[in-house]
Amino acid sequence: MQITIDNKNIEVANGETILEAARRNGIDIPSMCYAKEAEHKSSCMVCAVKNMQNGQVIPSCTTMPVEGMQIESNSKEVQAIRTMSFELLLSDHRADCEAPCSMVCPHGLDVEQMLLFYDNAAYKKACELIKGAFSLPAISCDDCKAPCEKACRRGNIDQAVSIRKIIKEVVEMFDVTEIDAADNRKIDKKMFQSRLGRFSDPEKQHLKETVNTKSRCLHCACAGKTDCKLRVYATQQAIKRPKYNVTSALPIMDKIHVNGNLWFEQAKCIRCGLCVYNSNNGFTFKDRGFGMQVCIPEENCNHIDEKLAELCPTGALYRVNTH
């Protein structure tokens, strides 16, 4: 079957969608709710293209081509629609890509990652990170004005995490000279940054009551910070700031332990439903409209395969391996 995409003739293989045909021919169309070989239903509309014959905007990930179809995938109009779909998704996305503390450390310590090791009692790993950032781990923080603690989101709730104290505590556990230095992840400041924004009073109260990590850290950083499609595409689309009011019906920072190393955080979900369609009596939709959520009933947690995390386009469903 022959179709044209952006005036280029393309031979479509049997059973191929427009998106698949385009990608096979080197035409890049972004997509989020689509996953090859997995059940999916178009919902995010970031793969929007225009059918030039009837002027309709269609999702290329599920639309089957028809002989002679003329598709436009890169016009200004199509780009504008894609940008808007990202902007809309981001307006419903109350979450941080990067933890503010890690962003501001003058020495480049991935503070949040260090605290994650600390909270999981992987002190040696925490110490390795510290050594990777500081030439003199025992005293480097002494003269610092601690922008990390000023930036700490926990400070908006009650008191910032005592990051410097924890660093000292960790360093004192070991003979630092014996510890290997580990590389800290370098934060690419050119990447799009989603920001959580302000907490409401009930949220403050809730987090105060429920976050009980040893360090008191909220772990704002997203598990999908490097491979989240939403972030990657938003960077590509040169989106800087949210265009619309950012409000969400989803609970923020609510980290649900699914099983093993698998975790789920609703606030980062774009409701594409990939985890719903590809788990049997596992994840499910709840409610409708703007308040629609993807959730996992407690009873269903056990039979979720860890591999499901690979389908999630954002950092909502993720694996953590701290040890």
Partner: protein, 802 residues
């Protein structure tokens, strides 16, 4: 449906609950696709979905946790917490909204002392909820308590309604009438649609029975379907022995005796004499009969109704005013099922489809797709099994045509459906009816039984080799299920997520088989086309829109009601001739047509003819046919906000543009209506609207921006005013204050009426309103006889009164 059985709650033992649950499961089934009927039955039994009952479902059926959560939280019918003994449903449909439904809701909550978010009274006697539309738009504002509907419930009447309801609960004694032996000729016809009953027709019916017993007049009392003239009901037609009809609109119970006596003679001579004397005494000595209807000349009584009917054309509602909805013999007597007989005896499927194509009939559900074309596709599609679905999921706030047709003309819809089934080669039909329409469900259920008895349904219909049967599926409360693919998903036991088309349901629909989905009104016109011939149908209407269209005429109109007009009539004609102009002689501002998918047509364009394409060109839409008349006292920005609030809540939530886009539009509209918007918000709103319209995947999202786009197109200056903090109509509460002017004489009526004591009781002094306390319910304005309370721009109250 909502009859509550909370007496049992709490006291019901685990064992009893299990027994009941098992009985329900045995009755309904255990497969995944029965989940909606199963949950409906459970809710009927326990008034909500108790968690123990749900656990039983997991144990005994194929339905799992993921499916149950997904489905039970999608449809608004299902409740997860126990409700009070009686449920108050406050209609927030379009017509009710423009007449102040939100104030009514607030008043109920205040009166029943429900604090904050609570929706149930402390004593568990009442629960309250807002519903999208009760379909009694002409009686707006409407409230339903359990099964009883109350019309014209203004905030000031809320207390009376509650009292009346409680009183009725206390003395529920039914007086059954005795059987008549000696029936006289002639009959009395009384409309008994849902709306008619809401305005007291049920009481009139009882009174008719009682009085005719008392007087010994054995006249047949017949309840007929919707009479259309909603604000003239209760409406009685007295058919005399010689066949002439005497009509009495707005009949009161006290007048029944008089009317009966006037037209009919009691059986025995003595009784006649006695009645005669008593009657005369009554007539001269009581006030109640002084202004009696029978003293008025016939044309004065019914003049209005005649103009109401003059411009109408009854096809879907043929038999209007005399057909008893469930009387099958009578329907057959009036050429009912003649079209079916003709079809089965002398039409091939091809000829039939050709005729429907030639008739030019287009789908009445909204889109206006050529029905014949749809039939042709389904007929041509491959499939061992084919279905015909009658779409009666009329969820538009402000529309009640489908309910009326189903309630009043069940056989006509059934006939249309059987013919459609024959044409496309289907063997199964399904009525999809909103659960909010209990009377329609009941009547269709009964009508189907009666049809089966007469072999109009079932195996080898009327001796032909065509077999077809119909079942009923009750929708569970989701506007999006009016969309074909979502409707099918819900029958299959899923969330009402629309599917991407193609494949169209006509090719791959219910359970993967070719499925014809037609609207109630479309099907109700089919028998006319066959019976009277294609040409008599094509004569009616315009070039591209043939036949008639049923509208629910409501809003600020004198004579609202259910009307059926030929296509091509202008909106102005409808408003002036049929509707009798605007109530209180207010000035026409716009007509909202097509509900949340349609738009507002401004007054100066109301000479537009009723026509699918003409409406589309204006940015509006025929939709399913709600026609809400708006006056200069209505705020267009508020209208747009109202509809967006509806669609964003009704969005299924699947796609970004509809789920998030409509919410962002609503955010901006909320800002506009509270005076916090900036000028660039209007552009942002417009940009969003255009994109949501273009990039949504189903009909809901594609049409949801229409109310915004049309109001922006025709009433942009009002948006600008709102940015500047002005709402001229005073509808947007956050932008106004109530103040008392110097015209006040200090009568204290307002102070007594104020529900929140914002007006201190100071006799003989000019009252003042504490703006901090005032909830702007408007009760004081209604009460004041001197027009001394006015709305002013927020914060400018002092300036005004000084």
């Amino acid at each position: 449906m909502s009859s509550c059985q909370c007496e049992n709650n709490g006291k019901l033992s685990q064992e009893e609950l299990m027994t009941k649950m098992d009985a329900i499961i045995d009755r309904i089934g255990t497969s995944r696709d029965v989940i909606i009927p199963l949950l409906q039955e459970i809710q009927n039994e326990f008034s909500y979905l108790p968690s123990e009952a749900i656990e039983r479902i997991y144990e005994k059926t194929e339905i799992d946790r993921a499916q149950l959560i997904s489905v039970s939280t999608f449809y608004s019918q299902f409740r997860h917490i126990p409700y009070g003994k009686h449920l108050i449903k406050v209609c927030t449909g379009t017509a009710c909204h423009v007449k102040g439904a939100s104030n009514v809701y607030d008043s109920f909550k205040r009166e029943l002392q429900m604090e904050g978010d609570s929706i149930t009274t402390e004593d568990q006697l009442f629960s309250i909820e807002k519903v999208a539309c009760l379909g009694c738009c002409t009686l707006a504002p409407v409230v339903q308590i359990d099964d009883k509907i109350y019309g014209h419930v203004l905030p000031g009447k809320v207390k009376d309604v509650i009292d009346e309801f409680i009183e009725e609960q206390d003395n529920q004694t039914s007086t059954e009438s005795q059987h008549k032996k000696n029936l006289v000729k002639g009959e009395i016809r009384l409309g008994m649609g849902s709306c008619c009953q809401a305005s007291g027709s049920a009481d009139i019916y009882k009174e008719l029975k009682r009085t005719s017993d008392e007087l010994g007049i054995g006249v047949k009392i017949k309840s007929v379907g919707c009479v259309g003239v909603c604000n003239k009901v209760p409406l009685i037609d007295v058919v005399l022995e010689n066949g002439t009809i005497k009509r009495y609109p707005n009949v009161k119970a006290v007048e029944i005796k008089e009317i009966l006596h006037h037209h009919f003679k009691p059986a025995g001579y003595l009784k006649r004499l006695k009645n005669n004397i008593i009657n005369r005494v009554d007539t001269y000595h009581t006030d109640t009969t002084w202004d009696n209807v029978i003293w008025k000349p016939e044309n004065e009584r019914t003049g209005l109704i005649d103009t109401f009917l003059e411009s109408q054309h009854h096809i879907a509602t043929e038999g209007y005013g005399f057909l008893a909805p469930l009387n099958l013999d009578e329907y057959i007597e009036h050429e009912g099922f003649k079209a079916l007989k003709t079809t089965l005896s002398s039409y091939t499927r091809e000829n039939l489809i050709q005729d429907i194509l030639k008739s030019g009939i287009r789908g009445r559900g909204g889109g206006g797709f050529a029905s014949g074309k749809k039939w042709e596709i389904v007929a041509a599609a491959d499939g061992q099994q084919k279905y015909v679905i009658c779409n009666g999921d009329e969820g538009d706030p402000g529309a009640f045509m489908d309910r009326m047709i189903l309630e009043s003309y069940p056989y006509r819809v059934i006939e249309g459906m059987i013919i459609a089934g024959y044409a496309v080669g289907a063997t199964k039909g399904i009525f999809y009816i909103r659960a909010e329409y209990p009377l329609a469900v009941k009547r269709i259920k009964r009508a189907l039984e009666l049809c089966r008895e007469k072999n109009l349904l079932g195996k080898q219909i009327l001796g032909s080799d065509f077999s077809f049967d119909i079942s009923i599926f009750e929708g569970a409360g989701a506007f999006v299920c009016g969309e074909e693919t979502a409707l099918i998903a819900s029958i299959e036991g899923d969330r009402g997520f629309p599917k991407q088309r193609p494949p169209f349901p006509a090719v791959k629909g219910l359970n993967g088989f070719p499925t014809l989905v037609n609207n109630v009104e479309t099907l109700s016109q089919i028998s006319f086309i066959i019976r009277k011939g294609v040409e008599s149908y094509t004569q009616i209407g315009t070039e591209n829109s043939k036949g008639t269209k049923v509208f629910a005429l409501a809003g600020k109109i004198k004579n609202g009601g259910l009307i059926e007009v030929p296509m091509g009539i202008s909106l102005n004609q409808i408003i002036e001739k049929i509707g009798g102009g605007l109530e209180n002689n207010e000035k026409l501002k716009a007509v909202q047509i097509g509900g949340p998918s349609g738009g507002c047509i401004p007054a100066d364009l109301c000479d537009v003819k009723v026509d699918f394409d003409a409406f589309n060109q204006m940015g509006a839409m025929m939709g399913s046919g709600g026609l809400v008349v708006l006056s200069e006292k209505d705020c267009m920005v508020d209208m747009a906000r109202y509809f967006l609030a509806f669609t964003s809540e009704q969005s299924c939530g699947k796609c970004t543009f509809c789920r998030v886009g409509t919410q962002r539009m609503l955010d901006i509209l909320d800002k506009l209506c509270s005076g916090q918007a900036q000028m660039d918000d209007i552009d942002k709103l417009e940009e969003l609207a255009i994109n949501v319209k273009q990039s949504s995947l189903c009909g809901l999202g594609r049409t949801a921006p229409n109310p915004v786009l049309t109001t922006l197109k025709y009433f942009r200056e009002e948006y600008v005013e709102h940015v500047n903090g002005i709402c001229k109509t005073g509808i947007c509460k956050d932008m106004i204050d109530f103040v008392v002017t110097d015209d006040c004489i200090g009568c204290t009526k307002c102070a007594k009426a104020c529900p929140v004591d914002a007006i201190p009781y100071e006799p003989y002094e000019v009252h003042h309103i504490d703006t901090e306390l005032c909830v702007k319910c408007g009760l004081c304005i209604d009460e004041c006889s001197y027009d001394a309370i006015i709305k002013v721009k927020k914060g400018e109250g002092d300036k005004e009164t000084r």
